[in-house]
């Protein structure tokens, strides 16, 4: 078996590929947190029959994605891979197979790849003496490439369909600048034929002799898919990252040689830090907790505290304490960076509140919108819905929320209408008329606001 299936690659290739692929997976895991409110609504259909009851809920889904993101960064840094890859594989497979709500095909691919990745020697031998040009043998790495080949094979077969081959399926899905370029050059029909042919060529991705040709072809192919702007998450980027295992070995051997001075400097720095290992750990714990404390992702504080305890416990015995400490800070720093540069936290609470509202669960919706107003105080909708929910049980602080919504969204009448309706229902007709008139002035075309003004004025005159 060893002579036919095992793949021998430089340790640098394994280390670089590991870093990029798992860092991407960490980003993907964090981006999924916004979808957590879909889960746990009391109804579930699992990917596999009989597992419906085992699907994740909203809280468990969010926490697991945070744990995955944390673990993936540690794996990317080459820390505790023999423990963390199997743990991540179990969690990931549970989240994916637990519910059909996850319909990303690349998540199925990642679920499969993580199972195989449990058997890749990610840390050896580069975690020891740092011999990055040393060859590493792995049957699992070959199996990862075979899995990619199977994906390409079936993707090509699926396109033997008249609606694909005549270009109409592609045409219906492609928009933007790439669409314009194709229409102006070779046409959709030609691309529809070229795509399955390219996929068929990429089936040979598992065979080393083809790497020199398939690495540029595959990377360009997936960059083209990125360019389409299709809503497929990080699928195309993940595929490009996986091509790091297909780039010919000599590229890595040369890179190791060229970057040798940098590596020497880094090794010297690591040795220096190793002498102050407890100070490094203390700093990592403090910086990590600081990052987590200002991270707005739900459950971040809890997971960060548990992670910190694990890091301290593991650091006690770890020979690679500095690497562990750096990876810990990077993981929690990534949470914070992604939280502060994307609307994930805002989306989470918005979707949670919207779901609870539609499913007639006002208590939960109120909690969600209260969080949303804290995370996004400039969100007019959050104040509007929170105001309505509070006023529904005559909590007059709801009026403050409606006023906030009116200040933030001066072009719409809904905040004023809600206020006017509540005031009118509570015999405060004069105030209600004023609010309704303000609504009609804010949005003159709003028929409901105009009609409310008329009705309320008639009511006040009738008294």
């Amino acid at each position: 078996m060893k002579s036919t299936f095992e793949l021998e690659v430089p340790a640098a290739k394994l280390a670089f590929g590991r870093f990029v692929v798992f860092a991407l997976l960490a980003a993907d895991a964090l981006s999924q947190i916004r979808h957590a409110p879909r889960y746990g609504s009391g109804f579930n259909v699992a990917q596999l029959p009989g597992l419906d009851a085992l699907g994740p809920g909203r809280v468990s889904y969010g926490l697991c994605e945070l744990v995955l993101a944390y673990a993936f960064v540690l794996i990317a840094c080459g820390v505790a891979t023999r423990w963390l890859v199997p743990i991540a594989a179990v969690i990931y497979n549970w989240l994916y197979f637990g519910s059909q709500l996850d319909s990303y095909q690349h998540h199925y691919l990642v679920a499969m790849l993580l199972i195989v990745a449990c058997f890749v020697p990610w840390q050896r031998p580069s975690d020891g003496n740092g011999a990055l040009d040393q060859p590493v043998k792995s049957w699992a790495l070959r199996l990862i490439l075979v899995e990619l080949a199977i994906v390409y094979l079936w993707a090509a077969i699926s396109k033997i369909d008249p609606l694909w081959l005549n270009g109409s399926a592609l045409s219906a899905q492609l928009h933007g600048s790439l669409r314009g370029l194709i229409d102006a050059t070779i046409g959709m029909h030609a691309v529809a034929i070229l795509v399955p042919l390219t996929e068929l060529a990429l089936v040979l991705v598992w065979a080393r002799p083809a790497w020199a040709y398939l690495a540029p072809l595959g990377i360009l192919f997936h960059l083209g898919i990125v360019w389409t702007g299709l809503e497929i998450g990080l699928f195309a980027w993940l595929m490009i990252a996986l091509y790091l295992f297909v780039v010919p070995d000599r590229v890595y051997v040369v890179a190791v040689r060229v970057l040798a001075p940098v590596r020497t400097t880094m090794t010297a720095l690591a040795r220096m830090l190793e002498r102050r290992r407890w100070i490094v750990l203390a700093a990592a714990v403090l910086v990590g907790l600081a990052c987590a404390s200002v991270c707005r992702l739900p459950g971040a504080h809890l997971v960060a505290v548990v992670a910190t305890v694990c890091v301290i416990a593991a650091g006690w015995r770890s020979k690679r304490l500095v690497a562990l400490a750096v990876a810990h800070v990077l993981a929690l720093g990534m949470w914070l960076a992604i939280d502060r540069t994307t609307p994930i936290a805002r989306d989470y609470y918005k979707f949670w509140g919207g779901t609870a509202r539609r499913l007639n669960d006002p208590g939960t919706a109120e909690t969600a919108y209260r969080h949303l107003t804290e995370v996004a105080p400039d969100d007019a909708s959050a104040h509007f819905y929170l105001g309505k929910l509070l006023l529904a049980h005559d909590d007059t602080t709801g009026l403050d929320e409606l006023h906030a919504s009116q200040r933030l969204d001066r072009a719409h009448a809904r905040g004023y209408i809600a206020e006017a309706q509540w005031l009118a229902a509570h015999d405060r007709l004069a105030e209600a008329v004023t609010a309704a008139q303000a609504g009609a002035a804010a949005e003159p075309n709003n028929a409901e606001a105009r009609s409310l003004v008329t009705t309320l004025i008639a009511r006040s005159h009738g008294r």
């Binding site: 078996m1 002579s3 036919t4 299936f5 979808h35 879909r38 609504s41 109804f43 259909v45 990917q47 419906d52 059909q100 709500l101 319909s103 095909q105 199925y108 499969m112 199972i115 195989v116 058997f119 049957w139 199996l143 075979v146 899995e147 199977i150 994906v151 079936w154 993707a155 077969i157 699926s158 396109k159 369909d161 609606l163 694909w164 109409s168 399926a169 592609l170 219906a172 899905q173 299709l230 919207g354 779901t355 539609r358 499913l359 007639n360």
Partner: protein
Amino acid sequence: MPVLASARAFFGTWRGRFITVFVLVQLLLPLRYYVHHRDPHDERFAWRMFSPMRMVQCVPQLTLAGSPVDLRGEFHEAWYEIAARGRFGVVEAMGAELCKRHPDQRLEAGLACTYLDGSQRSYGGYNICAVPQL
């Protein structure tokens, strides 16, 4: 026979058996879509990226004792979207859930789908509490 000996050695290890099972499952599982499926819209595990079938637009319709059910008020929006992709399993599970919530009532479930080529097809249209599959 060095090939046979090599194959025997391969299957003699847990790695060899794991690789064989993994590759076979991954190679054969997509066949399920082409050979044995009752739901043409369910392309899971078949690696049908950007397929024409993905462009199908369906309207799931459930009527309880003659009145249409507001599915978005009963199930999360995301489940409605999956049902609108025509996935039988999800529409059937929605039906089963509603049958549980409203026992002894007639619940008609149907799916009206429009395909990329403009063709249309309807599925179901009968009491899903009595016949649980579309």
